[in-house]
Symmetry: D2
Subunit: 341 residues, 4 copies
């Protein structure tokens, strides 16, 4: 029997555990593979820090948030590269790797794949900003969690005749803002792909107020108003050494209150969007992706990413998957804009 290694890297995401469970069940039940799980992403691979993954160890995982394997931001390319990874895999008698990760991890997987390492990627980001897949798991849960929170904000806004502002995640793309905003009936959605001005945002707020509504604004953390240079980085660096986003909601609270004269209150939803039990949608998607990764391995389809297309799970070359980020296209924003104000 051959052995596959699974690792989960980058920001965590509801559904990661369901991928692990789906892969292990698919490999063990068909008698094709046994599994080791590398702890804390690529750092576990490089240090041969792993645990066996059996039917017993994946029990009950489909509904568990987070990742039982832990995660880290370690980049295998800059930490030893392919030779180090190959050496580790040999020590563990691992035939191939299933790497559950975001853009960075999939890019690393691609480079390792070009060095002959057998690797299959599973796309993972709550931001839904990966190309070559309709949806990434975790996104649906993030949108649902944000929507439920925004539904709560709406009732308090209406009681106090306030404008409520909800800041959601989205480092490079406004997908969570777009979907949660549409679902919650927002009067304005502000995303990085479409740099509307603060004056435009204020106009939407006033229009909603003039129709007797308590205005509701949903803003992605990386939104940059027209005429400004960069996103709002109020708080140090993150684990990658990148400036940390989060807090533009509070800035908008002041600015929109100033521009409209309406009392504004912001809530920054933050990490609740990436934690907790996945939605049924994400559990099914993640389970199927994990199973598909093993199916690809058993066919010798290495160097690919498993992908969601319509109702199907398919595979695409890693190279195709990691080109451009998948951002909100103009027509989707114009569609939503018709609901604003």
């Amino acid at each position: 029997m051959k052995r596959l290694g699974i690792l989960t890297s980058g920001g965590d995401c509801p559904g990661v555990n369901a991928v692990v469970r789906g892969a292990v069940l698919a490999g063990v039940r068909t008698g094709q593979y046994d599994f080791v799980g590398y702890l804390d992403g690529w750092s576990g691979v490089l240090s041969n820090n792993s645990v066996p993954l059996t039917l017993e160890s994946v029990r009950g995982l489909s509904r568990l948030g987070g990742t039982i394997l832990g995660t880290s931001r370690t980049n295998p390319i800059t930490s030893g590269g392919a030779p180090a990874v190959i050496a580790s895999m040999e020590r563990d008698h691992v035939d191939g790797l299933i790497a559950v990760g975001g853009e960075g991890s999939l890019a690393a997987a691609r480079i390792l794949g070009e060095s002959g390492i057998k690797v299959i990627g599973v796309p993972k980001t709550i931001d839904n900003d990966l190309s070559a897949t309709d949806y990434t798991f975790g996104f649906d849960t993030a949108v649902q969690t944000a929507t439920e929170a925004i539904d709560r904000l709406r009732t308090t806004g209406e009681s106090h005749h306030r404008c409520m502002i909800a800041e959601v995640m989205g480092r490079n793309a406004g997908w969570i803002a777009l979907h949660a905003g549409m679902a919650a009936g927002a009067h304005a959605i502000l995303i990085p792909e479409r740099r509307v001005s603060l004056e435009q945002a204020a106009a939407w707020v006033l229009s909603a107020r003039n129709r007797g509504r308590a205005p509701l604004v949903v803003v992605a953390e990386a939104y940059v108003p027209a005429g400004q240079d960069a996103p709002y980085f109020p708080r140090g660096l993150d684990t990658f050494g990148r400036p940390r986003l989060g807090g533009i909601g509070y800035l908008l609270e002041e600015q929109l209150q100033e521009l409209t004269g309406i009392e504004c209150r912001a809530t920054v939803l933050g990490h609740i969007q990436r934690g907790g039990a996945p939605t049924a949608f994400d559990r099914v998607l993640a389970t199927r992706l994990g199973m598909a990764a093993v199916r690809a391995a058993s066919k010798g389809e290495w160097g690919v990413m498993v992908s969601s297309r319509g109702t199907d799970i398919t595979t695409v070359a890693l190279a195709a998957a990691i080109g451009e980020l998948h951002t909100v296209p103009e027509d989707r924003y114009l569609e939503a804009e018709m609901l604003f104000g």
Copy 2:
């Protein structure tokens, strides 16, 4: 300005109100249409029983379950046909109809369309069994509600070392059972498309027990065990005069207990699956479908159904949409089966 009439018919479904809101906002905000809403489905059309639908009247609808227009099982074809519908539309100065309905209603819409009536269908069923669309709105909510309920059943099953059986909806297709079962980590999923025997079901239950688990079975109401003739119809006729499904869970409780010797407890989830606030997924899908219906009308695309394809909303001919029911294909069941036992 032209006028569109909207009606909602057949079994209700989370997201219907979001369709209505999406359509009205798209038509009014673009200055193209005003709207009337027909009450209680086609019966409202035939009796000119309608209300004006304004921006004000669709306020807050995206998250409201049920349908503010009411619904009925009236079939316009057998209740006056095209001439009656045309007469009603003329009285109300209605240019075209948006019919939000299931298989029956879309079939009626097709026939009316062939008589020259301007009609656009919006597919609506929690069962997800319509062709020519990836998903129907309401399905995601039904699956999520069922999954949360089944998660609850699991903990009590484990405490008591019982086999828990959850019966979910699905008149013709096992989609809800398949997805909720996968999401909840069921040890057996029983659906009408795949008539496994009771002995096979019992074997999965025993296999789970032998691994120390509290077995969990998810069954679609229309499942027929191998060797039996028809679904289980324990309770009279429904509004269509069809035998009512619902209750096979209780029958399985006895039969699986007999076959396995394990104490079994069934829960028939019933109508909670079609009520309540829609998930964010369904709100977005339904809103976009409602907007797309108006877009189709404004382009003169009549006789079509709006449809979800990948991440897009598109249109298909009504004729194509209502051919065969969309049931669970064999490969999807085989994929899930790998997780059983």
Copy 3:
């Protein structure tokens, strides 16, 4: 250091695990006790089937439904009595017992206590029908789960102009029905303590309909209409050998439809009411009860039950606790009745 044994018996209940965690943390952190957990209730005590309970083993338990110790219906009095329990405790070097259970288990604890066994009871029932405590943990979760389900039923009832009937648990008392019915805005609540006639129930249904509402009926499984002899027992015996309740909702569906002419649809909520993650209210209550049990032990207060009184946790003699069942008093029903129809 002394040792306490913990067991959980009878029907499971959200919050049992939080009791276990609270007790273990309180005992270990104060350096007073270590713990063993007996598996499957009194049967584990009698067979010395136990596991050590450490800080590590209670990790994360406050939010986990069910009981990690398992449960059974074994009655220690009829299975060896005090001598057998004493012998087991000596073998395990257990100084005292914390018994988490319902009426039967607390009655057994009392008898054992009178034989000199050091035992402290923790009241546990979703039915809230124990005397000498304001609330039992698990009740709040059951009511919340039932209320959310009934909220869902309401929207589908309104769309179809149907009367929706929700059957909830309550073997001897109508507390779940009373609270979930009030919370959900039911037009009639039917409980065993107050045997209103079917004609009265039908009158409330018709009154709601006449005001333009979709009637909503909440019925406790043990409700017996005036003029009938016994509850409805459609399905065999339970683990205790008692006739199983559950199903009167379906009977009412027929009877109320007949009496009112309104289409009725019943849902029997069943076991979802006793499973799943506890509400925050129940987690806090259960944690505090577990801690209080250890506090009582450390003071040598044996033969008592821990109890919730206002905002306090206190102790009462087991003898006082298990006298009469705590059923819905007349004034609470009359209060609710003002909301009917």
Copy 4:
């Protein structure tokens, strides 16, 4: 028939609408009263800005968050006082007032009552900091919402080996922090009543980490670390002209990271705690309080506040109700502290 006026003032709170519904149903169904609802708190009283409240207008209110009457911070004592209120009541033919409000509003009600105005108070605050009542409605919903959010934070903390910090509301009292923290299994709870030092908080965080846990800290917005002078007021003034709380979580993020060397991430839960559908517990409590207010009126018991005591609803003199704030007593904190670290 006599007429009662209802007003809702101060910060909104889940369950306010259920109070209004309970009062109107109790008054109308007994044929004793009809009702007007004053808009936006005391400002509606003073300007005779009211709407009639009928059975129809309170339909469906038990589960609706916010307040349909709107609210404001207007203080009747400083805005005309008793004479102005009396004049307004006479113009509207209102016999007595039901004032649903927090500390300030109840204090005003007391003063008005001493001037001979017939007024009954209903205590309302998510903070649970009012004396003379076991619980205030809205508190349970706030705790439940916070607990669900913190459950989500926990899984992402564990995946990333981070310390997660959740800031909850509580202007004067740490009740929400205490209950949500206990329910979620926090390793440290920081409240204004108990000014533990940052070093103590850091010690708890390190202790949890040393046991292999991802530390979880719950902090009330008004917590002041030992040795500091005042709460953290990062953002201007609120509607009362008081400095706005909210944001200490972000400050702790830096400080605890510095003190412990563990990566920390804060989430400020904010307004989601006061919005949205009330829990079943709060719906029942609020409905009963509304009904009890009318019962008190019909008995001529003016100048009282309705109050929750154990399982009963009773009345207390307004004077008794508004003395001291109900803060977390030492024994409750010491009880919780046993679970820390």
